[in-house]
Amino acid sequence: MKNSLSQSPADWTQSLRRKLRLGEGMVEASLFGVGFLTIFITLAITIVLGDQALLFFAEPEVTLKEFFLTNTWQPQIGDFGIWALVSATLTTSAIAISVALPLGLSAAIYLSEYASPRARSLLKPILETLAGIPTVVYGYFALLFVSPIVRNLFGAEKVGVYNMLSAGLVMGIMILPLIASMSEDALSAVPNALREAAYAMGATKLEVSAQVLVPAAFSGIGAAVIVGISRAVGETMIVAIASGAGPKFSFSPLDAAETMTGHIARISGGDLPYGTIDYTSLFAIALMLFLVTLVLNLISQWIVAKFREQYE
């Protein structure tokens, strides 16, 4: 202390500035460490899935050609055609999106253009509640409420208890709030000048919404749909409960078939011995799921960023 005071004021501030703060450095380093951990998680997912999937493809009875080009999945007899599972994933996701897109978009238009602030504050929590319900509860709903209705409509002899239609419909209800809130964000990001210009030309509210705002927010809505698809592809519990157990190559909504996620859930449910072909095959499926959803998410993020740029 004495020493530093005896120096001239200029030196004094100099030495203060140069003071090495070990604690600060350590804090920053550890914060950087946890920030980096998130990248490590992605790497770990890729490596773990890739590693086990490679083991799977290294098995003599599996070939890439068989995996991607055939459509029976029966591990007991060595048939590994991923299309048996992909077909169900595609069917349920398509049903879900065709429910969630029109309804979600309508809800978004109503909330952002028509609803009074009071109505909004009453209606938004309902969508948020729908979004917060655990998927296993949706599964229960699909199996015990929607499936009986579907069977009544199409005839119990044609439709089984487990069918892709009821799983897909309920998945649509689950995704609806997601699409609604993302589309609403996109719609409210459209500058007011566009709305006002259209109203000044004498357009009705519908014309403003449908012919000006929706086209202007198109890319944002597109991003919402892509995220919705990615959510539907990755959704597990609804399909595991209501869509059926057992892979089947079928695009008919009334059939029971197992999706990629449903298959992973069912097979890994027991104490699966490590290193068997059943075990590694699950990682191959999971890797595909991961890559598909990753690409979808990246595209949607890219669209949203582009879109934001456009109006800022």
């Binding site: 914060l31 209606l123 509860v137 409960i241």
Partner: protein
């Protein structure tokens, strides 16, 4: 104002009227999407309530009135033990005593034993709530015809006993105690991992790193992507890393516990922690972003270092937002099922989890298992389990809302 007349007037008016009519129709269509959402939500909740209560037709081997004069549920502990002693064979009684001494069992357990071992209830048919309320006669007639021996009783499957008793292979005696405790353990571990790590990462991204930095942008994109990875993929990650690679740690072998493999509460909790991490980070970032810059500048102005500024000024101001975000992350973790299945939740566990190194089950896992059974009584307890789960979620979310309203500051 003078009336305008021109040749196309009528046509124009009709055209405008038609456009407005279309507008009205479409407004109703848009609104009906929201009505659909409300209807689905109500249908879902009513469906669960419908399943959780209602008439049950059951038979039993021994009439309860022959066992004791008082109704069974009014007996106290000593009387229940006495009933067991007189009605069970000596061997059977001793076997039960050896499993767990009678004195250490609580009234609920003893009552269940009496029902299970002596009266031997057998559920024949269950009826949902609304049918029970509105078609009572039809149900009575049906039961009389199909099961002449059976009695009909209105039963709530969601009872205090349901919360307090462990899993059982018979739906009539099953409860969610172990599952509930398992879920609480899981969420505690998950948030214990995700909260410090998530807040640290958020602080780094918002306060330390340069926003234009390419590395920062990579981390940011990566976090958004992680938030969109399907939960079952996290389950596979947990299976390969926590259950297998770190088995020595997660099974507790490192600490001298040898009776389990890696499929423990700890593995599942860490998997859940990784799963909710992006959510915690994104929420914490939003909360930190909302702290006005003037606070940072004031701190820097009086000579605080960066960490002092963050620790004493930014974080306290962002705390309510961070807490709200973590509660939302907790409610996500409580409802997630798929990763637990993959990591290897056991379904039949009757012992309370004692440490992170035990096998576990969780509420959504039980619901999944019970829903998948075909018998009506299992679907009824699945509905009761769902009510418990939804109750937990409502409590958590209400806490989040209260926190937000109480501590929200406007700058």
């Amino acid at each position: 104002m003078a009336k305008l007349t021109y040749p196309e007037k009528n046509e124009l008016e009709r055209f405008v009227a038609a456009r407005y009519r279309a507008g009205w129709i479409w407004q109703f269509i848009f609104l009906s999407a929201l009505i659909f959402a409300i209807l689905s939500l109500s249908a879902l909740i009513l469906n669960v309530i419908d399943g959780a209560f209602g008439y049950v037709a059951y038979e039993f081997k021994k009439d309860p009135t022959t066992i004791s004069e008082k109704p069974l549920d009014e007996l106290d502990k000593e009387e229940l033990i006495a009933v067991l002693q007189t009605n069970l064979s000596r061997g059977a009684y001793n076997k039960l005593e050896n499993e767990k001494p009678m004195d250490s069992r609580n009234e609920g357990e003893l009552y269940n034993l009496v029902i299970e071992r002596i009266i031997q209830i057998k559920t024949r048919q269950t009826y949902p709530l609304f049918q029970s309320l509105f078609e009572k006669e039809a149900i009575e007639a049906e039961v009389k015809e199909l099961y002449p021996e059976a009695r009909l009783e209105f039963r709530s499957w969601l009872t205090p006993t349901f919360l307090a008793t462990p899993q059982s292979s018979r739906a009539e005696f099953a409860g969610v105690r172990t599952a509930l405790l398992g879920s609480i353990w899981l969420v505690t571990i998950a948030i214990g991992f995700a909260l410090p790590v998530g807040v640290g990462a958020a602080v780094y991204l918002q306060e330390y790193s340069n926003k234009k930095n390419i590395f920062n942008r990579i981390i940011q994109t990566n976090i958004n992507n992680l938030a969109g990875v399907p939960s079952i993929v996290y389950g596979m990650l947990g299976l390969a890393i926590f259950v297998r690679a770190f088995e020595a740690f997660t099974s507790g072998a490192m600490f001298g516990i040898t009776d389990t493999n890696g499929r423990t509460i700890l593995s599942a909790g860490l998997t859940m922690g990784v799963l909710v991490l992006p959510l915690v980070i994104i929420n914490a970032q939003e909360a930190i972003k909302a702290v006005p810059d003037s606070i940072r500048q004031a701190a820097f102005g009086v000579g605080a270092t960066r960490w002092q500024t963050v620790w004493s000024h930014v974080l306290p101001n962002a705390l309510p937002g961070i807490l709200t975000g973590s509660i939302l992350a907790m409610s996500r973790a409580i409802g997630e099922t798929a990763p637990l299945i993959v990591v290897g939740a056991s379904t039949f566990i009757t012992m309370d989890p004692q440490s992170p190194f035990t096998k576990f089950t969780a509420l959504p896992i039980q619901i999944y298992q019970w829903t998948s059974r075909a018998q009506g009584e299992f679907q009824a307890i699945a509905a009761a389990g769902i009510l418990v789960l939804l109750g937990l979620l409502i409590t958590l979310n209400a806490t989040a809302i209260i926190l937000r309203n109480r501590f929200q500051r406007r700058y």
